[in-house]
Symmetry: C2
DNA sequence: ATGGGTTCTTTCTACCACGGAAAGAACTGC
DNA sequence: GCAGTTCTTTCCGTGGTAGAAAGAACCCAT
């Protein structure tokens, strides 16, 4: 939702900015290898970023009998970004630096599902986060939601709030004065993994989120895959066990039915004869309770099967597990890995499983990551040299 | 396996060549839109192709009160390509024009699995095909095999022949004198679909082959996905029904167990109490035999489940079904589509299923398609104007 | 038949991004 | 302090690209 009057960054400049942002202090020589550019191009391309204070030169690193490199780095405190994830009952926000590192967080209960009300709550949350950290202006706001969101920030559907075709980004931009973008929550988390996650150099990987639901995102050849069906949660309803309990949509034994925290809590409550929460089930299983243990083992096997289907059908060899319910992994990893191994051809290369332990924070951080990528996209280096705090936005 | 001393085609020239090859006669104006190039660039880029006779100008098409366009087209008969698919017992070959249209085919029984023997058989097959068509020189040979093949045509493993690290392309290049490339069979068929199939404009789609085995290929954002595990047939062992019969690797109810022709024939033989072949099962089911019918219906449901897993996990909305066993679709389509619909969210866009009815020919044609794409890659337009028949190769 | 309108194609020219080469800078070790 | 090495910059050439304008080919209305 930001206007783009000037041509914008060239493809190469944008890639340079991404590399420096993602790979911390990095010498021009290293950048030349990564981006396949000549030293000459590197000097030329990085100058405008240095001029505007977006890049800084890190302290020289001497290693051996050579001229030491003067690594480039982003000025991580050049700007702040706010990310907010909207769920059915809460708006959860973080404020981060340019590398999506959270500096503060806050949340607000949502007492109404009305669009205007939620916009007001998010705007006030953003304001609170803005005042929570000093030192740099907020350069962008990212908002995510479980639903389908267009590129220009219109939520075409978010069934859990009953929304249809509401201009979320535009409304928040008007309410906060910040450049705002909206994105599907799983896509945002996937983007955050692509830029700032452990697999940021992998090029191709899948993301599975476990929590209130099961989410699925895919990065192939450095591009996040988006389809018209993104936001429907299709990856959350993969059939995993034929005789499993049905999910809320009626799919027996699908990934949501086997792995989502409400399903697990309900299943455990039924088996134990009393109402237990998700965390309690994990605690019980951790303490050795056989009933809880059997439930987490079953969930683990289902997860393993999901992972094997993902590697084979999406043709990725790395998978990130994230989300607020990911503590399940601590208990279910053995059965999940056993199932994955059983399903996979013994000649195949092993699947690389990465756990993002940040839990719920990952969601809001994803929203901030989207804001960061958008800010990069709308960076203008052609305008007469602006000094630092205004390099972004404006 | 072709030497590349000169720089080769630029990215844009290569893309232009692909567009003209793939989209038949097409005006420079249309090309400008597709490739996002100015008219000026189109003239400049297409001239070298016209000079060498690779492009021809198709008859002008008048449509309305404008200047008629002079569409560009490839000279489809400028060169021939031979594609050979090697199976456990047969080498099956086709000779095609530049658009991978088969002009003649032939096959040879394989009586030995020894590398040298098979190389000799394929070379003789290629020679027969060469002499079967007149009018243009053969510019390339593509060979495919069910196994892992490196970019330079070394078969690292092909278990059904007991091969390990054999230089297939190099040996055939020496034996035939033709620029030769080798590729995994499913990958080759996928490339053929990407360039010459109905979904060639889709950008992202999956390919499922049904026949002696089940194959799986993926194209995302106009790129065929290859991994170190390509050739292991991982996509052929997706678990589909929990209580199904096991495949030869022991996976109960996996895609091979449910859909491969030997599995279906074995299953039917057992149920009918006599030995029947795959074709006979389909005939019986077509004639209304309830036992055969129940088997094809079960296969259909398994196929539908496979398709739903593919759309959801690979995030594609189009799938090509191909291979020598695809006649199954005529019988199993209703149950497959019913299962697909049941598994898929009703709000999701429908999955686009495309049948490639060419059966076994699709395999050899895939091999030829790989040769065509390689020939394009090694095209040199910088050398002093060579006249037609030598534009390729040399 | 003649000129106007439209679209396709080409020519000419200017531009910008990138790479190659060589010089300069910074450091270690002898 | 000089040699050796690597990193970085400057200068300049090249090639691919777009913009503008002219030319070409056609239909149609007058």
């Amino acid at each position: 939702m930001s206007d783009d009057q000037t041509p914008g960054l060239g493809k190469t400049s944008r890639e340079l900015a991404r590399q420096v942002l993602v790979h911390g202090p990095i010498s021009r020589a290293d950048l030349g290898n990564r981006l396949d550019l000549s030293p000459a191009s590197l000097t030329r391309l990085s100058r405008p970023f240095l001029d505007r204070g977006i890049f800084v030169e890190a302290p020289a690193t001497a290693h051996g009998a050579h001229r030491p490199a003067k690594p480039l780095d982003v000025h991580v405190d050049a700007a702040r970004f706010i990310g907010v994830k909207i769920t059915g009952d809460t708006a959860y926000g973080v404020i981060t630096n340019l590398r999506a590192t959270p500096l503060a967080d806050a949340s607000r209960a949502l007492t109404s599902a009305a669009f205007d009300d939620i916009v007001a709550v998010v705007a006030s949350l953003a304001d609170e986060l803005d005042r929570a950290t000093a030192g740099a202006p907020v350069a962008g706001l990212g908002v995510t939601i479980g639903g389908h969101v267009t590129d220009d920030g219109v939520v075409t559907r978010a069934t859990f709030l009953g929304w249809h075709d509401v201009p979320l980004a535009a409304a928040l931009e008007a309410a906060t004065g910040l450049p705002t973008c909206a994105e599907n929550d799983v896509t945002a988390l996937t983007i955050a993994q692509q830029w700032f996650g452990e697999l940021r150099d992998a090029g191709s990987f899948a993301v599975v989120t476990v929590g209130a639901g099961v989410g699925y995102g895919l990065v192939i050849h450095d591009r996040v895959i988006k389809t018209p069906n993104t936001g429907l949660g299709l990856g959350g309803h993969i059939p995993l066990v034929d005789d499993g309990p049905p999910c809320f949509l009626g799919h027996p034994g699908c990934s949501t039915a086997m792995l989502a925290s409400p399903s697990i809590a309900a299943h455990a409550s039924q088996q134990l004869g009393r109402t237990v929460g998700y965390g309690e089930v994990l605690d019980l299983a951790g303490a050795g309770d056989p009933t809880a243990r059997s439930i987490t083992d079953t969930a683990g096997r289902a997860l393993g099967r999901l992972l094997s289907c993902i590697t084979n059908l999406a043709m990725v060899d790395s998978i990130v597990l994230a989300g607020d319910g990911i503590a399940l992994w601590d208990l279910a990893a053995p059965s999940a890995l056993a199932q994955l191994t059983a399903d996979r051809d013994p000649q195949a290369t092993p699947v690389h499983i990465v756990i993002d332990p940040s839990g719920f924070t990952a969601w809001a951080r994803g929203a901030a990551a989207v804001a960061i990528t958008r800010a990069l996209d709308s960076l203008r280096l052609t305008t007469p040299a602006a000094t630092l705090p205004h390099a972004f936005g404006g």
